[in-house]
Structure formats: structure tokens, C-alpha cells
């Protein structure tokens, strides 16, 4: 309900909309990163696939973005399954590097295959002033605020369902000890593929919503290593990996300080804002590696005593 109580609507709503978008992306990342402890640095791949799928279907087949949303999730989910087959035996850094490379390959392909993707120029969502709800285009920012909020609630609901059900126990078991998980009957391959598919599909859905909100994207921004893959992982890690509220806490913390540093420190010299940003991240990892959620719990306990 926040949008109705703030005065300077446009800018704040845009920030809040992006905040919920990134919280949703971090929540979908949390399914493999948090529950299965597979630190992916390539989730931009699924984000970009979702974006290209719905936009190309809209441009060439006039398919409503709502159906494009479903198609984007299917394409991203299917790719998630394909990618998880060769990468599932990899652990730690090797998994991170393999996923990173995959997203980078997609970025190159999208840059090169101009006839389909428009190449480095990017794609624009055809503007339809009277499109409205059917084409997921709105005059004001408020509808998208609620769409992103809804997406975040859906991702969180799915995350919570997974973590409390059989598959959640299986994921935590194989995260703690894969050999022992197998020997008590858990099908590690199947469990990992299911988790990757759900995570990738949600990420693809986020990609569709983002392009409908933003109207434009190009390969370097949509498949971006730094501003998508790493940022999404960071939001979750800073907020609290494997916790329900970690992604939201991380997004509420990181995105505003990014904005703040960019607006206040950029003028002081090139790179100052990134430097300050990096120092804050290092400080948090040093103080509480389990993230801000754990830090809050620790502080409230200390205050209680």
C-alpha cells in the first residue's frame, strides 16, 4: 500500500519496483544458492532468456506478455534443466565458474546473432499507448509496483513451500553431505534438476517483467555478469543465504545504498561510490558471514539480555 502514502511518487515507486524485482530474483536464486548451496554466478542467463523469449514472441507473434511470461518461464526452466545436467557434479568455485561461463556465452550469442536478437543494439518492447493490462503496459508506475510485489510474494511462497516439503529436506541433506544423502535413498540428480528448473523458471519470469517495465534491453545489460548475476547473488548472501527473508533484507539494504552512493559520491571522483560500496560489503562479510538476517537476530538477542 506504500505507493499511496508517498508524495514524490515517480522516483520512489521506480526504486521500490526495482527493489521488489531484485528481491524476487534473489529469492529464486536462493532456491539453488541457499537450499542446495550451489552458488550460481550465471543467473543472468535465465533472466535474459525470459526477456528475449517474451519480447520476440510479442514482436513476431503479437503474443500477450502475460503468455510470454509463461513462455519465458518455460524456456528458462528448460535451459535450467539442460545446464544442471553437466554442472551438477561440480561443487563450490567450479559450479560458480561454469554457470558464469554459460551466461557469458549467451551474452556473446545474443550480441552476434543480430538477425534474431537485434545484436548489440538491443530490443524494444513495441509501445502501445492503449495497450493497458492486456499488453502489460501502464501509464503510471503503480501497477508495476504491485506486479513486482506480487512476483516477490509468489517467489517467497514457492521458496517457503520448497523448504518445508520433502524436496527441501532432500536439498538440505545433499548440501550437508551428498554421499550420505544418497545412501539414505535420496536421488541427488533428480532433486538438483527440479530445484534448478524452478529457480531458473522464476528468474525467467522476472526477466519478462523487467523488460515490460523497462521497455528496452540489450545483451550486455540483460545478461550482465556484474549488474545481474553477481548482484542477485550478493543481495541474497548479504541478506542471508537460505533464509526466507534474506533476499528482501538484502535488496532493501543494497539497492538504496547503491542509489545513495551513486547520487552523493559519484561527483567526488570516478570509482569512489563503487569503492565505498565494496568496503561496506567487505565489512558485512567480516562482521557476520551469515548475512544481515543473522546479524539482526544476534543484535536483538544482545539487546534482550
Amino acid at each position: 500500500m506504500v505507493p499511496f502514502f508517498i508524495s514524490n511518487q515517480g522516483y520512489t515507486i521506480r526504486v521500490l519496483t526495482l527493489l521488489f524485482l531484485f528481491a524476487s530474483m534473489a529469492q529464486s536464486w536462493n532456491i539453488v544458492g541457499g537450499l542446495a548451496n550451489q552458488i550460481s554466478l550465471g543467473h543472468a542467463a535465465f533472466f535474459g532468456l525470459g526477456a528475449y523469449t517474451s519480447t520476440l514472441l510479442l514482436i513476431h507473434a503479437s503474443l500477450s506478455p502475460w503468455l510470454g511470461f509463461v513462455a519465458g518461464m518455460l524456456v528458462a526452466g528448460f535451459t535450467g534443466a539442460l545446464l544442471s545436467i553437466p554442472t551438477m557434479r561440480l561443487r563450490g568455485h567450479y559450479f560458480a565458474l561454469a554457470t558464469l561461463a554459460f551466461a557469458e556465452v549467451l551474452r556473446s550469442i545474443a550480441n552476434t546473432w543480430s538477425s534474431l536478437t537485434g545484436g548489440p543494439v538491443g530490443l524494444s518492447v513495441p509501445f502501445a499507448p492503449q495497450g493497458g493490462l492486456a499488453l502489460m503496459q501502464f501509464q503510471l508506475g503503480v501497477p508495476f509496483y504491485f506486479i513486482m510485489l506480487g512476483m516477490f510474494l509468489v517467489c517467497t511462497f514457492i521458496y517457503k513451500q520448497i523448504s518445508e516439503r520433502k524436496i527441501g529436506y532432500e536439498l538440505r541433506a545433499l548440501k550437508a553431505n551428498p554421499a550420505s544423502a544418497q545412501s539414505i535413498g535420496i536421488n541427488v540428480t533428480k532433486t538438483k534438476i527440479i530445484a534448478s528448473v524452478i529457480s531458473a523458471a522464476l528468474m525467467g519470469g522476472c526477466g519478462v517483467l523487467f523488460v515490460q517495465f523497462n521497455f528496452f534491453f540489450d545483451p550486455d545489460s540483460i545478461f550482465s555478469l556484474v549488474s545481474i548475476s553477481i548482484r542477485v547473488a550478493l543481495i541474497c548472501i548479504i541478506g542471508g543465504v537460505g533464509t526466507v527473508w534474506g533476499p528482501l533484507i538484502g535488496a532493501c539494504f543494497l539497492l538504496p545504498i547503491e542509489e545513495l552512493f551513486n547520487s552523493t559520491l559519484s561527483a567526488k571522483g570516478a570509482g569512489v561510490s563503487q569503492l565505498a560500496y565494496g568496503l561496506i560489503l567487505i565489512a558485512i562479510i567480516l562482521i557476520e558471514p551469515r548475512g544481515l538476517q543473522a546479524l539482526f537476530i544476534r543484535l536483538t538477542k544482545r539487546l534482550g539480555n
Binding site: 520433502k166 529436506y169 532432500e170 550437508a176 554421499a179 539414505i184 535413498g185 536421488n187
Partner: protein, 242 residues
């Protein structure tokens, strides 16, 4: 070759790591309801044999049969569903879960979550640890961890349990508790056990038959009294000069 009477058998089971043959042409045969001891010096290939039996490692050659079925194409989790399970040498609990969550995870392949929880309590009760159900697994003592792992194994509805040094680092009364428990599980639930153990008192009291391996080969097999007098076994443990 596979005798349907046997619950488990191996035929010329061999595993090489590079030039080193860790398990060599091994034939063993286990009858239902037996408690068989598996002993041998450090590095004899005992744990590798267990890993071959449950499929965590693939054999270089040879076969494993469970209830007459060749296990060659069955993954570890499928062998578990048939009733063949192992525990781990250093106890492999899921450290960020509570005791009850650890135990119920074992039951999830057989029943829905709410039933699994009740079944897990039942099995914790059997090993005498239902009072620590809500503790965090990482906070337990070693003997408690070993028992929780056993309870988790019981939740998979096993027929044959491979116990890899569950009694290491236990004092006498803790050991007696586990020994009694294994015998009770055999008589009340009809379970079969193969037990790797270094502690001679435990193995002599518990097993009716002992298989001794050294350098991956079976060097002796028989009743505890026979094994303890066997010259090759004594040589393997004490060295050839003695």
C-alpha cells in the same frame, strides 16, 4: 551364480585406484539375519568394500548381488530402496538440521512428511534418544551422533545395514548399549548386519562370523574363536616377524 538364499554376495569384486588394487577378487556371502564382522588392518580396503556394496564407488570388475539381483545398474539411492544401507565412518549427520529432521529425512522416500516425523520418533525411541529430538545435530556428542545416524538408517526400512566403525571412541557402557541394540534389532526386526570394527571385544561378542581382509584380499573367515587363533590374522595385525 547368485544364491537366492543369500541376502548379499559378491563375485570376484575388484577395485583399483590407479596402480593400487584396494579390493581384489573378493567373494563374500551373507545370509539373512547374520551379524558378520569385517576386520583388517588400516588400509585393508574395508570402507572401500562398503562403498562398492552401496554403489558410492563403481567396481573395476566383479559383481555385487542383493537378494539374488545383480546391482551393477543400480545407483546408491536405488540400493537403499531395496534395503541396502550404510553408515559412515566419521558419522555423516546433516549438521544444520535438528536431530528429528535428520532422522525423518531417512523416511521421506517411503512415506509423506507427517508420517515420516512419527516414524522418526519411533526410531529415535528405539535407539534411546527421543529426549534429544529437538537438539541441533551439530551439538551432539560422538556416541549420540552415531546413534542418531543409526536411527536415520532405520527410517529407510533397511534389510541389511553396513555399520562402519560406529563404536569407535565409545566407552565400555556406551559400547554395550550399541551391541545390545544391534542384537535386539536383529531379533525383533530380522535385520542383517555387516560391521567394520577395530575394537576386538566388540566384534568377538557381537558377530557369529568374521571376515578378515588385508590388502583387499580375504585372508580368513570363520567363527570369532577360530579367527582369533588364525596364524595369518595374527601375522596381519602384529607383523610377520612375531
Amino acid at each position: 551364480m547368485a544364491n537366492t538364499q543369500e541376502i548379499l554376495s559378491t563375485k570376484s569384486l575388484t577395485r583399483r585406484f590407479g596402480g593400487l588394487t584396494v579390493v581384489s577378487e573378493l567373494d563374500i556371502s551373507i545370509q539373512p539375519g547374520e551379524i558378520v564382522g569385517l576386520i583388517g588392518p588400516n588400509g585393508a580396503g574395508k570402507t572401500t568394500l562398503f562403498n562398492l556394496l552401496v554403489g558410492l564407488i563403481k567396481p573395476s570388475s566383479g559383481e555385487v548381488y542383493f537378494e539374488g539381483k545383480n546391482l551393477r545398474n543400480f545407483a546408491t539411492h536405488e540400493r537403499c530402496k531395496m534395503g541396502l544401507v550404510k553408515t559412515f565412518q566419521n558419522v555423516a549427520l546433516f549438521s544444520d538440521m535438528s536431530v528429528i529432521e535428520n532422522v525423518l529425512t531417512g523416511a521421506l522416500q517411503k512415506m509423506p512428511l507427517h508420517q515420516a516425523r512419527d516414524f522418526a520418533y519411533e526410531n529415535l525411541e528405539k535407539v534411546g534418544l527421543s529426549h534429544i529430538a529437538l537438539k541441533n545435530a551439530a551439538d551432539l556428542t560422538f556416541p549420540e551422533k552415531a546413534l542418531v545416524e543409526l536411527a536415520r538408517t532405520l527410517c529407510t526400512c533397511p534389510k541389511l545395514i553396513l555399520l562402519d566403525e560406529v563404536m569407535a571412541a565409545l566407552n565400555d557402557s556406551e559400547m554395550d548399549h550399541i551391541l545390545g541394540l544391534i542384537q535386539k534389532l536383529r531379533s525383533t526386526e530380522g535385520l542383517t548386519f555387516i560391521v567394520i570394527e577395530h575394537h576386538m571385544r566388540a566384534i568377538m561378542n557381537l558377530c557369529e562370523r568374521i571376515v578378515v581382509i588385508n590388502f583387499g584380499k580375504k585372508i580368513a573367515e570363520g567363527a570369532p574363536a577360530f579367527i582369533s587363533q588364525h596364524p595369518e590374522v595374527i601375522a596381519a595385525y602384529l607383523g610377520h616377524d612375531s
